[in-house]
Amino acid sequence: MRIVAPSSGTYYHIESLEAPRYAEVFDVVTTPEELGAVLTPDDCLFVPCRTPAQRMIAQKELVAGHLAAGGTVVATGESRSDLWLPGIAFTSVPTNWWWWLDPEADLGNRISAPGHPLVRDMDKAHITWHLHGWFALPGGATVLAEDAEGRAIFYEDRVTTPGQMIITSLDPMFHHGSHFMPAATLFLDRFLPNLKAYLNG
């Protein structure tokens, strides 16, 4: 299965999608506006974090059609996926970026489904940098990771549409592409191969 990633041309998208570390993961890097000419139902649409939401809102019908045809969508955080994907119930939380200054502190994010192939060999170290918000899930969806209060921050939804949605509020590409949070790079180092294997498995 091809992974098709719409780049919004931000420095962190270009660094994350095109630099050698992950370039081979993405079969097609295009733009949100060109998806209509590129995306097929056999593809996985991978929307990188911090995509300016208006770019995907304009593709809402196309994305709905992709899911209706059985396609796969991965949507990472801070891109307002609630505005362009069906069935997303998102609650944002104020970002506490200084939580770790207390040596005793624990952001509290944890893997909920350690046996799931999408989070294989991942633990809290792979998902701990910031918390941006949580999701209320439809019945039948699978929580992959949760915050300290047990609220979903990463999940798989195979029930809302004929396709599948893999959704997270984590924003790894912004931080990796900013050369900022090593944990965000750890996340991508594991999740992207896991995703590739899962899609082709």
Binding site: S7, S8, G9, T10, Y11, Y12, I14, E15, T31, R50, P52, A53, Q54, R80, W97, W98, L101, S178, H179, F180
Partner: protein, 201 residues
């Protein structure tokens, strides 16, 4: 005088930018709505971290013309596309430590006049937001702020030989720093003044 704030993000611009727009000091233009006519009559540009550099690269001849006419461009973020002749691509610091984020002021600049450097180095005690590397300085550029004991030019001004001035801030948007000291309105105001042709080096 015509300063354009190029809004690439979904979210509205910061409050001081909106206020400046209401006061007529600048015009907020969505990046996708930027016309060659508007760029052709602008004298100042302010771009932020979510700039679509792929889209902007297609405007390169017009951006060169803008600069040749004496334009001022305040650039926030990492340069990952050669948007103007003479610009190089962002270089992150290798393995930065906390001490590497200490800033050294190498040249006085009106944007920073009277602002304590310590107020820009950290947010709530966390360093690294201001910048984690540098856009390479073109020939003739003047370093304003450096990291890593004065070796990494995170801020510089380029009085371009063919005309115009380019201010590079290679980090999160400069206007958002010094939150605890209430600096964002002052910083935004000074960035706008500079882009409008105000005092420079």
């Amino acid at each position: 005088m015509s300063v354009l704030y190029i809004q690439s993000a979904y979210e509205a611009p910061p409050k001081p930018v909106r206020a400046a727009s209401e006061d007529g000091r600048l015009a907020v233009v969505r990046q996708e709505d930027l016309t060659l006519e508007a760029l052709g009559s602008a004298t100042g540009l302010i771009t932020h971290n979510q700039l679509d550099q792929n889209a902007f690269l297609t405007l390169k001849p017009h951006l060169e013309d803008f600069m040749d006419r004496g334009g001022r461009w305040f650039f926030n973020g990492h340069i990952v596309r050669p948007l103007l002749e003479g610009l190089g691509l962002y270089l992150p610091m290798e393995k930065p430590a906390f001490a590497d984020f200490r800033q050294t002021r190498l040249a006085a600049h009106p944007i920073f006049e009277g602002i304590e450097i310590a107020h820009l180095e950290t947010n709530k005690g966390v360093a690294g937001f201001y910048g984690r590397g540098a856009n390479p300085m073109p020939d003739g550029a003047v370093a304003v702020t450096e990291l890593r004991r004065g070796t990494v030019p995170v801020d510089w001004v380029w009085p371009r030989p063919k005309g115009g001035r380019f201010f590079s801030h290679a980090g999160n948007d400069l206007g958002q720093f010094g939150i605890e000291q209430g600096l964002p309105p002052l910083l935004h105001s000074r960035i706008i003044d500079w882009a409008a042709g105000g005092a420079c080096l």
